[in-house]
């Protein structure tokens, strides 16, 4: 399973996006606002999820802003961090 696929599944399961399946999520669509429609309430959950599921703590604000742009961006960020980048 790719990181993108794993992330989609985690988003649906951990954020209880009951109306969606992983296949419904466009990996290039914005996570917040238009797109997946997550809000600031979800931001806290998402940051915690990334930490718990991938062991990655996002400390830098600019990195975080870029990483949470879309599922694809977040997957790339996670892969980069896991490979020591």
């Amino acid at each position: 399973m790719t990181t993108v696929e794993k992330l989609k599944r985690i988003l649906v399961e951990d954020l209880n996006l009951e109306e969606l399946t992983p296949g419904d999520i466009d990996e290039n669509a914005p996570l917040f606002g238009e797109g997946l429609g997550l809000d600031s309430l979800d931001a806290v959950e998402l940051i915690v999820i990334v930490q718990k599921r991938f062991g990655i703590e996002i400390r830098d604000m600019e990195e975080g802003k870029a990483a949470f742009r879309s599922v694809q961006a977040l997957a790339s960020y996670i892969e980069g961090r896991l490979s020591g980048g």
Partner: protein
Amino acid sequence: MDGGDARKGGKAWSARSIGSRWQHRFFYTLIRIAGRRAARVMVVFVSLYYVLFRPSVRARSRPYLSRRFPGRNALLRLWDGYRITVEIGKVLVDRAALGILGPGQLTVRHSRREDLLERIREGRGLILATAHAGCWQFAMESLRMLETPVSLLLHREEGDVDLHIFEHRDDDAAFRIIDPAGPLGGAMEMLQVLKRGEVLCIMGDRSMGGDRSTVGVEFLGGRVRIPITPYQLASATGAPVVVIFPYNSGPGNYSLLVEKVIRVPEDLGRAPEAYRPYAEAFIRALERFTEERPYQFFNFFDMWNQEPLQ
């Protein structure tokens, strides 16, 4: 949090002062020339003008006062409006005096300082849930005694002429501001503050809008929506939530009332309803505060009339 850039909600309140720029400057100058006490005396007269000749000012405090003092006649309603206007005026003077003239102007008493230190020693950060009561900015300044960095979730309205304490002088603020209108609603910064074991202060009585970041609770006989942010953060991090209310306890004296500690179970998730019991606990504490100090809860918008978002 409470909206942020992630969701544009309908905030019903304004953080801007009712005073004009020249009125603020007048008071700042008066404090410099004649001192804090003279400015507090002037507040008594200026408040009278506002209450008698500016119906819009009376109207802003009416939703709260009519619920706190139901069944009052017109004269007593006028008196209530005057009292609360004088109280907020005095607080604003004290706040400006602290910034302009420096510490030593006012004293603050902490009822349970050791309790706060004990919660910090738990090492999971500390969330202070407070309200627009007393001189909350002064309370933030006084939290220097915790010897732990303090961050405050605060949205600064564009064009607000009312200066923060630290803006009157050149030294650093005693607290760092996290803007809920910033990226991800400030979520990342708030989590980092708690992760570092620091103190995060959030106004528990006011939301920037967005139904999903609030829950409806009963307050003074009506339904209000208050933010769940403090409790959601507590659930995500394990940090305790301590409810505090600063209030003016006498001329030149403020007290920091540590009302209660709220423990939120971990991993409650994203459903706002899961946080209702903790929001209820906060609002009951605020209700007790308004019973004991009715003129020190500075709510100047109709918090009972916030339309749910569709």
